[in-house]
Amino acid sequence: MKTFRHVSARSIEEATSILRESGGKARIIAGGTDLLGEMRDGILPEAGYPEILVNIKDIPGLDYVREEGDRLVVGALTRLEDLATNETVKSGYPALGEAARRTASPHIREMGTVAGNICQNNRCWYYWVPNNAFYCLRKGGKACYALTGDARYHSIFGAARVGATACTRACPNSIDMPDYLSKIREGDPAAAAEILLKTNPLPAITGRVCPHWCEGDCARGEFDEPVSIREVERFLGDQVLNEPEGFYEPPHRSTGRRVAVIGSGPAGLSAAHYLRQAGHWVTVFERMPEAGGLLVYGIPPYRLPRDVVRRQIDALEDTGIEFVLNTEIDREGFEELTRTYDAVFVAAGAWKETEAGIAGEQCLVPGTEFLRRTYEQPQDVAGKTVGVIGGGNTAIDVARSLLRLGARPVIFYRRTKDEMPALDEEIRKAEEEGVRFEFLTLPVGAGQETEGVELTCCRMELGELDESGRPRPVRVEGSEYAVHCDLVIKAIVEKPDYSFLPADFVDGRGRLRLDETGHSLRRGVLAGGDFVTGPATVAEAIAAGREAAKYIEAYLVGKARVDDETAPVCTFGQRFDGSCLEPSTRVEVPALSLTEKLRSLTVEETGSLDRRAVEAEAGRCFNCGCVAVSSSDLAPALIALGAKIRTSQRVIDAEDFFSVGVDTSTVLGPGEMVLEVEVPRPGTDARSAFLKFALRKSIDFPIVNCAAAVSTDGGLVKSARICLNSVYGAPVRATAAERYLVGKTVDEATAAEAADAVLADALPLLNNRYKIQIARTLVKRVVLACGPGAGPGAG
């Protein structure tokens, strides 16, 4: 078992003060049967355990059951067995007595307390499997196994979000995918787009080129195929570019502060957007004739059409961002910007070619230069064999562009496919299209010939792991050989060019001197994107730009701290639809045939989904949440009887006491503990009952349990309170059934009708639809048990 410190509190004050002062590291042990099981079986990830157990069982005066005036009061430490066998309870409060009697086994009832029962953790079979065998959502993992697996101890009224889902966590921009996909399902794509734009101002672009880590981590991937999130994003991105009104608007207020952004790539655009939306004047400086940076001069147009980038820039320009093109910033210009603007953001990307260390390197064409030229004025390379040196995204982009220009590209890479830094999706496409790969091959020399280049290569083998965690390529002695190419392009690591920065911004080893936040070069002068990290992805650059915008904003308004990235909201208790759980496949994305693809450098290789397809894809989102259930037997009885819970701080209606949570299933705050349960004495015209469906008579947790309290007048129902449990993250009050019953007689027909009303809005999981039937039957029977002529168990 886990080790912990154990404290036996002698008073309520002592227990609550320890809880409060422990900073969340202490937990109460009252009955202990759940908590000890949890600690002993190692069901949680390492960090999840309490460090201190506060034993409250020795606190005197909390163990009693008695009637005081017109109510029953039950002390928090009353054993369930004592409640179950108490004559006053059995006769006057039968639903409560029966609920206690049906809780677990006699041994557990002898140990378990009333407070422990109502404060127990929400139940889930997967959660409780020893050794954290199911590292589920609730524990911080990626998937909920009950959504599509066995789900007897799980919800039939939807799930509760337990913080950021796996897709959101995988996204550099923390986009709340389930949230915007829900909006699409609800038929409100505009609202979906708004959620998307909150952390990603360029969805039409990322919707095309993002490596979609979200899809890699999509919980659905384990089940059938991940949701095609990027295609939905692309659809929404195109929508907002088609009708930018309402999405890209000038800010309502102006601060009058001016910010210069150097570089109009994704990092610069992202920062510019968020700064502009905050009310600042933003000017973006771009050395090239067109804005977009890497989006225009790096990513080939068959992946990202130029008009998409143009329309994106136009939309941003319309919000009042100023673009100054054809303007290279040199050291002097930089100093001037820092003087004339309130803040400067450097997002100049990574464009500088590095030396490959190949003899005769001057006869190789740099990859970025090739891509840039290709866009402006495509080279005639038709029919030519072109060597491409490198294994990153630039090498793949160069090779695939060459194919479209009619050339025969060969990629020389010194390691193997597994170690290639290029995105897997891009490598796969290159292979499909017919790019040749020479792995474990290192060009070591190049010689200009009258027609082309002779490349001397060396075979390699993989050795020990290097500092990047990849195996180091080692030359095979005597393996040199010569290859003839018509042209050789080197697409090895590009680096940022710091030459325009003041000398003191760069350290002796040629690295940027950033402050401890990793953003600032000087107060009001920040840097981000590839300029800081070296070549990365568009999504990461957007994140860097947004982050920098926050620091700049903080600097401009003189705020000491920068708010944390808006953490995805934990919307406990929110109901989520599980109707997407049937197996389904991803919607097919329209794509050009291979021959069509290779015919053009500028025609986009894939098409957009139409609205119906997007809705189908959004409908596939599991909307991942926790479906563990509140399974206390006392809870529904207390709610049906209109009980109140007295804590060390307040009195709470039993109905409001339970909440859907991960670490807690109640509304108790830190340092708050339950002291007493008060149950109003039912009137002489009232009856109450409790029923439980479990697989075994004892020990097992309920599949469904249900309590009702009905008062009648002249045979007609005056009021009814019905509560189900084990069907959702918190007890479910059956208000529809209660309303229906008022004014009616209790008989087979009305009880059945009431039961139907409760289950009308059930949202079962893939494998627990049967619980609806069980719940319906229990409600019907419990209502009948409260009616005239009811048998034992009612009173």
Partner: protein, 193 residues
Amino acid sequence: MATQMFVVAKTYVGCGGSTMATVQEKSVVSEDTVGLRVNGESHRVRVEPQWTLQYVLSEKLGLTGTKEFCGEGACGACTVIMDGRPVLSCMTLAIECSGKNIETIEGIARSNHPLIEAYIKHSCMQCGFCTPGFVVTAKALLDRKPDPTVEEIKEAMVGNLCRCGTYPAHIKAIQEAAAVLRDVLRGGVGREQ
């Protein structure tokens, strides 16, 4: 009778500085030595906070009759009687048992309780692993209800599991032991009948 020992916490995780002082004044922490009264005998045992009562009984006091099987409160093999209640010793921390009166299968056997004879007579065991838990639970029942009905017996024993399926035999044995006990109480000859 063992004395219950309490000392002020010397170190206290998560509570530093001034808060620590306030906690120290109020806090009473069970010392790592507990006084247990088991089958009428007093023991002083050094325990670690995470040790269960079952572990201490079996490993520290040599009372190996109290078995651990499921370890999660579902089988009843580890049942002991604590202050008159049948409880699960695998789910009870020994550190919380200071000053409690504990009765184990060894005590019940030593007292020559009629349940022992009845269990043998009715062959209530096959492998026998669950038997101590059944006997202790039955003893707790008979202490409270000298004349239990079949339903009451079933209800009281429902937390004890037997993989060999000996359940029907237990009901007969418990009824018989109850009858013997009632005779003893009335001054009859009991088991010899």
